[in-house]
Every structure is written in C-alpha cells, then in structure tokens.
C-alpha cells in the first residue's frame, strides 16, 4: 500500500497558500524509515520539516525550488 506525502498547512488563515519545496533530504527511489526527514518546506519565511509517514521506497513528485500549494502531494511512499 502506498501513501501520499502532502505539503503541510503552514498558513492557517490562507488554506490555499503556496510555498516552496526548499530542500529534499532524500533522493528519488531511496528507502526511508518512518519519521525520517524527507523535506524542508517554506511558506513566506516560515520553514517546516516533513517526516516520512511510513517506511518504504520514496518517489518525489515535485522538484526542489518548486512552488507548491498547501495540501498538494509532494511525494509517494510505496
């Protein structure tokens, strides 16, 4: 079963705010453990870490520096 990793909701006032995928800490196809740091994202000047929700092989759905809407999928873990 695969699970999607979503861009976290950093701005509560603006639910459809856009942010930036600042850094990928894992590369395409790598094996990850639960809670392992996957990415750091930014909305305005606020940064947040995105941990892996489950173990598996990670597939990156957006590029580094890409602008992403909150709640949009950024990775899939198979």
């Amino acid at each position: 079963m695969s699970s999607l990793v979503l861009f976290p909701a950093l701005s509560k006032e603006t639910p459809d705010a856009e942010g930036v995928l600042a850094t990928w800490f894992v590369s395409e196809g790598s094996t990850v453990a639960p809670d392992q740091l996957l990415a750091e994202v930014q909305v305005d000047k606020v940064a947040a870490e995105v941990p892996a929700p489950a173990a598996g092989v990670v597939h990156l759905l957006v590029d580094e520096e890409a602008v992403v809407r909150q709640g949009a999928p950024i990775a899939r873990i198979d």
Partner: protein, 343 residues
C-alpha cells in the same frame, strides 16, 4: 541484539541539522553541557545552530542571553572552570571586538596561568563568512585571528558529517575550542543553494578528531588547501577541470589549531603545486601560514610558485557584484590553478 535485515535507510542532513544533532546527543549524555547565546532559544539560532533544542531541553539548558557578549562569555568561562561544559555562541565572528578580552585573555589563558591546574572545557561557537550582502561588519571570517592567538583550538567544518563529528569532539575536549561555522555551509533554505551542504551523516555517536585534515578529493596535478565554504568551491572547480586533464587534490584543513601540516606537506610532496583558498583576509593569516609550512620544510617541493586566493585586505563590500569580486570564488580559484599548472 537484533540484526536488521531490512535495507539501511540512507540518511542525509544539512550541516546545521548535523551540528544540532551532535549538541543534542552530548546534552543527553552529559548533564553538564548547556548552550547559551543571543537568539539561541525560541528563535533556534539565526543561522539554525540550535533549532529545536529549547523544546527538548528547556530554558535551563538552552539559555537566551541579552546583547552582552562580554558578560555571557565570561559567564561561560566561569561555568567551565567550575566543571560544566558550556557551549557559548557569539552570533557573528565579527562581534569578537566587543568581547575579545574574555576570549583571549581569560578563556585562552586560564589553563596556562594556573600552571595547568584549571581547565576551561568550553566551546565558543560563531557564524562567519559572506556572500549574501550583509556588509562589512557581518561578513568576515576572522578564523585566522583566533588561530593566531595561543591557548584555544580552532575548528572550521565544511561538511555535515564533520560538523557533527567536530562538535562532539569540541564538547568533549578539556580545552577551549572555537567552533566556526560559515553561514554558506549550513544548508539554510534562504541562502544560495549549495548541494554540498546536504550529505550523509553517521547516526549515533560520531567523533572527528581535532587536528586532522581530510583529503576531500584525491588528485595528482595540483594541491588546493582550503577550509570551510571554500572547500565546496574548490571541489566544484576540481570537477570542472577534470575533463581538461587537470587532476586537482583538495585538502580540507577542518582544524586550524592544531594545524595538520603533515597533510599539507604530503599532498604538496605528491603534486609539487600549491593553491591556498581562504575566505579570510590575505595578509598575515591562514594562507600565508600554509605556504610558510612548505617553505620552511622544503621549498624545493614546489615546482611552481604557490598561489593564494583570499579576500584582499579590504572590508567586505555590501554591493553584490563587489562582494563577489573580493570573495575567493570559482573564477579566481580556477585562474590560480591554471597559473600553477601552466607548462
């Protein structure tokens, strides 16, 4: 003991996260370790040197200080001579001017003046370096100044793994250790992107011995001796020149005190050509010391005169183009390598 059959997850960290991990692990291990400085608590350090530590260890051990460098560095020295292991952050190396008496007349001399009876097991951390238009008072390296003054070790990591290993070693060292992190190696999302600031970092206890240089890239034609962010630039240039048939060896000093002169001599003995890349000022500093190391032992090792790529003796400009003109960046490093490899 369980043997893990599953494939090992590769874990990469930025330099700042690797540094924080080392501090957290040592604080878990040793209750006498604490961290103190300006904006190191809720803010997490303006260059992310302490992100998340306040939440884990609380305000008794992660202590925000007023803007009073002489007072809180003195407080750290006092705690250290009484047996604690403080890590004290001077927000910018540029600010050494307001508190240097505590650093070089007290922190660095108590062990000597007490005839070796009193130890100062303290780590003094600080951010250094330019490249992001922060002006002449917030962009200097100044590690050569600390290394010039006797009585303290000086470490300058460039990679995430070394940032962790050298921090662990610095905390455990019974001498005062100055730990200087260039803002450009930390992997901060708002800085110029640098892929070398994100790399694999060993989990668990990890110590890098202070005083040992690292061969960051093996090569046979020319030795580039460097440190901190300049190592990343040197590696970029080495990769660019490889297809042109110039095989560059890059030595990352990692530590200025003690200085691994043996590593410098071994590499120059192999290549016969030396370029020193240092983001500190040119005169009377690290780059001159590296060249002198070769000249004093055997100037005959060099088949071409050595080249130094450093900041000329001027304040760091604010204007982006002017700042990049004085910093030891790729263009100047490449030119220096060509100058010593010309046939």
């Amino acid at each position: 003991m369980t043997i893990m059959e599953a494939p090992q997850a590769t874990r990469r960290l930025t330099t700042s996260k690797a540094m924080v991990e080392a501090i957290a692990q040592e604080m878990e291990r040793d209750p006498s370790v604490f961290y103190m400085g300006e904006d190191v608590g809720a803010y997490g350090g303006i260059f992310s040197s302490t992100t998340g530590l306040l939440e884990t260890f609380g305000p008794q051990r992660i202590i925000d200080t007023p803007i009073s460098e002489t007072a809180f560095i003195g407080l750290g020295i006092g705690a250290a001579v009484e047996g604690m292991r403080p890590i004290v952050e001077l927000m910018f190396s540029d600010f050494m001017g307001v508190c240097l008496d505590q650093i070089y007349n007290h922190m660095a001399k108590i062990h000597f003046e007490s005839g070796g009876h009193v130890q100062v097991p303290m780590v003094l951390t600080m951010a250094a370096g330019g490249g992001y238009s922060d002006g002449a008072q917030h962009s200097q390296c100044l590690w050569g100044t600390f290394a010039h003054l006797p009585g303290m070790k000086v470490v300058v990591p460039s990679s995430p793994a070394d940032a962790k290993g050298l921090m662990t070693a610095a905390i455990r060292d019974d001498n005062p250790v100055v730990y200087i992190f260039h803002k450009g190696v930390m992997g901060l999302p708002w800085m110029v992107k640098n892929p070398r600031t994100l790399d694999e970092v060993p989990e668990g206890e990890y110590v890098v011995p202070i005083g040992k240089a690292r061969v960051a890239r093996e090569g046979s034609d020319v030795t580039v001796v460097s440190l901190s962010l300049s190592v990343h630039h040197a590696l970029d240039v080495a990769e660019k020149l490889a297809p042109q048939g110039i095989d560059v060896e890059v030595i990352d000093l990692r530590s200025l005190v003690p200085l691994d002169r043996e590593a410098i001599l071994t590499s120059v003995g192999k290549t016969g050509r030396l370029v020193v890349v240092d983001e500190d000022y040119l005169s009377c500093g690290v780059s001159g010391e590296v060249v002198a190391t070769v000249a004093e032992v055997d100037p005959g090792l060099l088949v071409m005169p050595a080249q130094r790529v450093a900041v000329p003796d001027v304040p760091i400009p604010y204007a982006h183009d002017l700042e990049y003109a004085v910093l030891p960046r790729h263009d100047r490093i490449e030119k220096a390598i060509h100058a010593v490899t010309i046939r």
